[in-house]
Amino acid sequence: MATIDVTNLSRSFGKSRVLKDVCLRVEEGCAYGLVGLNGAGKTTLIRVLLGLIRRDGGSVSVCGFDPWRHEPAFYRMAGATLESDGFCGNLGVRDNLRVFAAAKGVPWAEAERYFGEYWTGTDIYESTRKVKYLSRGQRTQCGLARAFLGWPKVYFFDEPVVSLDIRAYGHFKAMVMEARSRGAAAIISSHQLEAIDELCDRAGLLRDGVIEELDRGGGLARWLVRVDVAGDWGKVVADNGGVDIAVNGDECTFSIDDEAGIPAVVAALVGAGCGVCEVRRADAGFSGAVKNIYGDSVERTKQ
């Protein structure tokens, strides 16, 4: 059974039909990226899935629960960050976490162990200041610490990375991977398309009230290897099933399809006397797919 199962979901605000026939299935261990223009309905969809607003039609099942029934057992299985960080400004990070641990039914000893194990070394771990004196990014980190508290089975992140610095983002990424390895499903809504590329294995574009599944790159993960042409690169490429793409001055670029073969290729290139300048994914990713869809309108706006 899918962790999140949505069929023909619809929701209107007045005459504006924000969600028309949204269908979505997110399996255990899957992170689903939700992208779309401003006002497309991403936050509305997340709020429906959390039972904060009701749906007009269709069916929604999250961890087997109908969110609008507001069952406490459902919320104990869910972690979320919303537009508001939701903290009590007069309390410190730990006091706030204590409140939410009690709400989730997580014993404080367990919550403290989790906080120490997973958040040591972050900005918020040592902080003794009241939350209202923390920066926006630090409050976002607090929200993430709260969301992962108790390792829920399903996560909803509404624009979680916009105020995170590079270190905090790395930490968030590691936490998402940890949650996925524990079998949790996640929906991550963001305008940071590169983050969607990195964090999610599936993504959908919410447009005109429906979700269009995005293709990361034809399902083909290709890797580009750029080397200098001083060594015998041609033989290495041929031996490892690579495809020559271009020779540009004293550098050449070729692609290989097998990600697992990358270390062997790099070792062979170095052994053949070549300098490896760069190895990177060659597919366009979800960000490329979105840019393809909206590229024309962006160009028109620029003009």
Binding site: H70, Y75, A80
Partner: protein
Amino acid sequence: MIGLTAILRKEVKNLLNSGWGVFLINALIAVAWSFMLFYEYGLVGSDFGIWSIFFASIVASNFSGTVFISERVSGTLEVLIVSGVTRDAVLFGKVFFVAAATLVMGVVCAAVSAVWLCLMADEGTAASEIALWSGRVFRGAFLYVGAAVLNVSASAYLSVRMGNPRFLNFANLFITGAAMAVYGLVSIMFDRRDHTTFVLIFSALGALFLFLARREFAGERITRPVIF
């Protein structure tokens, strides 16, 4: 009711961690109104009725502003809800906290008033005056609680129902005026020194507002962003 103690603990800690200005203002309110309580005792036929209604409304509104409005505006409520606290726990936790805080303020105010009485009463009649005063304050306390319950419940309902919850303080002033008008009108028909009728009326209205507030808290308006 899952999360009720978490809500109460949060509200109490939030109050205790407030700046000293909050405590100073509350102390000034208690001291200033204790003079009125003491003064009204000296009036012929005084029963602390108007004082109880007005002071309960002022104090309850003061706490409601923080507990209901600011959380609604900042969007804290929806985060509490998705964290596993039941909507009933959010509502009743907050109502209970504001009612309890209002009651504590009333007790402090009455205690300070008692000090004025002890200091100013004649030595010979002090004991009898304090006994008389205590009896009136005790009767007035029920009216005070009734008015506080009415105000808190109405605040809980209106904080969700009103499009702009920052106008809640004005609504509270209206409710206070209405409660005092009810007190005045009903006094024509009943002996106003017997507070039972008023306590029943205020409690019934409070229960009605609480019922309406519970319906609002179960709906989606409570999670709707407040944009000015």
